[in-house]
Subunit: 199 residues, 2 copies
């Protein structure tokens, strides 16, 4: 009975966080909905994505074709000498939600991943370097993740950007707020110890 | 940054098993994929759904416009005197996977749900009654769920179908296979006790 739904199940299972079983459940629900209202709303939204939504040509954040460069790049109330480098546009959303950063952003759209054959070329390092020179940032914060590939990407960027007259920093690694030593893993704990601060 | 993605997030969050956060994550991923390959595959699959997929006009199972009535209704190797009544077409898929039933199906497309204002009218009981009379089933198995609304639906169907010359049964309620008494809830346990069988 699922065979005619295979193309839909396959398309759904490609989405992040959706496994085969969830994809089957969604496909069945879409199929049994005789009004097709769910499927039609989704189709219309995807067409809106196709025609309206782009990544900002300057920083990579999600924006509309009508607002490129995006609001984060053009907002005059934002700090203009701090640049926060992230791996993915969704990280910009997460940091914005925290309210803890008011500067500019730059999304790399990936990280060094030799296992997946992704070298430095797709990171658009030239764009990043040009932005740092032209926009006059004084500090570049590498807000990358804390896995091995992100560590390699951070080390690579530090090297590439070293000749520029800019301070390069990276987010602190340590215990998550509201957590405890009992729940920490050894790698986090040793990073927290190495990064201990006077108080 | 999420604002332009709202229509897509809304459409995704309507799908079963997808909460707001997952919908946001999916929308961001679709938006940052510059090739649009994920979005396009999904759009094409949804269009295939729109043009090809229907619920079988006889039993309600998911099928294609080219195969109506569906293969389950027309397969001559299946037992023709047993009818399995389910709430939803996806239940047919689940039962077929078990391999434990080889008769015909009938999907009610819902259940009695006074809280949601869903009475008996949308269950298509007339169709069910006509099928039982015309196709000559000797037993109707109510393969409904075990919540309060499904219990009410089963009681309602038993009453409606009582005048017909057909045996009406319902799936056993009891301990799940591979589980234990220690993990059972009181309602399941008392149902298992009431349904105890000589061995």
């Amino acid at each position: 009975m699922l065979e005619p739904l295979e193309p839909l199940i396959h398309a759904l299972a490609r989405l992040p966080g959706i496994g085969r079983r969830t994809a089957e459940r969604i496909a069945l629900r879409l199929a049994r909905d005789r009004s097709r209202s769910m499927a039609r709303e989704l189709t219309a939204a995807l067409q809106g994505l196709e025609t309206n939504i782009i990544c900002c040509s300057r920083c990579g954040a999600i924006t509309t074709t009508a607002a490129d460069p995006c609001a984060l790049c053009t907002d005059p109330r934002r700090v203009t000498d701090l640049l926060c480098v992230v791996e993915d546009p969704s990280d910009i959303e997460t940091i914005e939600r925290s309210g803890a950063f008011r500067g500019r952003y730059h999304a790399l759209m990936g990280k060094l991943s030799p296992m997946r054959g992704e070298g430095s070329r797709h990171l658009g390092v030239e764009n990043l370097r040009r932005r740092i020179e032209e926009e006059g940032f004084t500090e570049v914060i590498l807000a990358l993740n804390t896995d091995v590939e992100s560590d390699a990407t951070a080390a690579f960027l530090r090297e590439i950007l070293a000749p520029l007259d800019v301070k390069i920093t990276r987010l602190a690694t340590g215990l998550p707020a509201g957590s405890g030593i009992a729940y920490s893993d050894p790698v986090t704990l040793s990073a927290a110890l190495r990064g201990r601060r006077p108080m």
